[in-house]
Symmetry: C2
Subunit: 364 residues, 2 copies
Amino acid sequence: MKPSPFLSEVYNKSSFPLIGHGPRNVGVLKEALDQYEGEQDSDIYGTGTVIEQFQLDVAQLLGKPAAVFFPSGTMAQQIALRIWSDAAGSKKVAYHPLCHLEIHEQDGMKELHHLEPILLADKTRPVRLADVQGMPEGVACLLLELPQREIGGQLPPYEELEAIAAYCRSNSIKLHLDGARLFEILPYYGKTAEEVCSLFDSVYISFYKGLGGIAGAMLAGEYDMTEQAKIWKRRHGGDLISLYPYILSADYYMKLRLPHMERYYKEAIELAALYNSCHAITTVPEVPVSNMFHVHIAGKKEAVEPMFIAVSQETGVGFTHIVREKEDSNCYFEVSIGERYAAVPQDRMHEAFRKLDEQLRSLN
Amino acid sequence: MKPSPFLSEVYNKSSFPLIGHGPRNVGVLKEALDQYEGEQDSDIYGTGTVIEQFQLDVAQLLGKPAAVFFPSGTMAQQIALRIWSDAAGSKKVAYHPLCHLEIHEQDGMKELHHLEPILLADKTRPVRLADVQGMPEGVACLLLELPQREIGGQLPPYEELEAIAAYCRSNSIKLHLDGARLFEILPYYGKTAEEVCSLFDSVYISFYKGLGGIAGAMLAGEYDMTEQAKIWKRRHGGDLISLYPYILSADYYMKLRLPHMERYYKEAIELAALYNSCHAITTVPEVPVSNMFHVHIAGKKEAVEPMFIAVSQETGVGFTHIVREKEDSNCYFEVSIGERYAAVPQDRMHEAFRKLDEQLRSLN
């Protein structure tokens, strides 16, 4: 018996899935390409209108002089840290223990660039000013991920972010933003992208999280930094002859989804409250500060999964495609709100959460 | 006055361009995607039917146990050499002085992997058996590019290739194929892809040269090597959440173009003969051994470009979009045959070459 794939199947077939924009299928690209003429020229190795104009547009949106499109954030961020490391003459870079570079990239930063991470804060909370003030000497760059995804999308208070930026500036430490979900936090902070980015020397954003594109990333900053980044992009094998499949879809979905970030954020607050009303469930954060949060369940994965399956099959509401085990033998899953949530009928959703609560009461 | 862009413009607007498959525009991707249903699932970080099946298909075509799809050949080849270097415990890798890794990748291989190239042969001819026999001790891997693109697409005799492979095997030197244009040389060698690849420990092929896809590459070899390559692909930032825009187009154009490689080869021989019939022109090779060759003109770029422009404007035949200066102050350009050549009316083409010959007679 393989319960996990089954949950995934039930979720994918559910009439009212709660998470995301929709299935990741070829239709997503087709819809984007339908907006463009077949005669439009490809980019060629980082040159051409399609890539150069998009880079200018996003640089402007982020309030930076220049930007470079990358096939992936993994590539963009390693390169940003490498550039700041070379500039400072130090291999030390500081970030959170659950930073993407630390846990999802097969140590590319260390194996390819020989950078040495200084881990700040513990695994349960975001980096705070005191962590930064306590860093050892010689840190070339501090990377902040806003929101910190692996802990449910938590954020420091904005004033603390400003204080961290001021500390870095006065100590000649470059500040890099892992902004994979930058647009998703703007409604909570009540700031523009440009305002948040003004605190950072370099900014990475992703086009396939809250924006729902196919893949791709942008690295923005001063012109000198982005020109160096282009050289490293070629070295990494990311300077493809044609990146337009990602660029055109990034452009299309960014324009489509940016206006809805405030709605996604409010819907996340609404949905988290529904989860928190259930027995044995707490969300992290308790009140979301972006379109995402984590759902923690005081029960074993083996006991919990069949409950989600049963309620989904009964009500048509899809909660999650995967439940993950935690070290304490309880379990959790991630929720991020996209276009789908608004299409779920409220009465059906409330019925589903009543039934879920009933199921969960039988735990322990 | 900027003559070079003008030549490019004249070429792009010519009624009968002689080179390539067609313009690199969004229509190329649209045509490929029209073959697939919107409901088809994306690949997800290197998994899923769309990528796994294509990897199996190409591995079988190349006669290798396994294959990994990469966004670029730059990434695939650095990684292949790194794996062989680690296995041998030596940083030394050998290749031609005009190898892609040496001249087109901003020294990525050296900057990221600290590999040390041993340059074989001189810049005018392919690597021969004697070059290989003369290599210093401790070379981990020899890379052979077939055909050697930067010298017009030259090849060693097949028997010599077999002898090089035998030498490498008996000296525990891994042999890697830069097969960016592998399918283009099979008609000349009279071999299958599997036969040629059987001489090599690892093989890279490209999907956007003779095959005419959007971008993308495959690295094939033993299962243990390709599994290591997947880890390095993640480290390089090439393990994108979705590579299907490149995979689907690679699959589509490969099936469309593979059956025509023999025709492209014969057309290259025909076209090279036409160039060689002109005053002041020689092609390299004189008789092509693939779908490509270089056209060398005994004259300065500034004198030659207006002649090509004049003949194109008069006859509608497009020769090249760019003429490159050589160190000896003469000039050259590259020709590679694709779908377009067969659409050029023979009488129009012969008229164009008569007029080109007349123009060139005024050189010197």
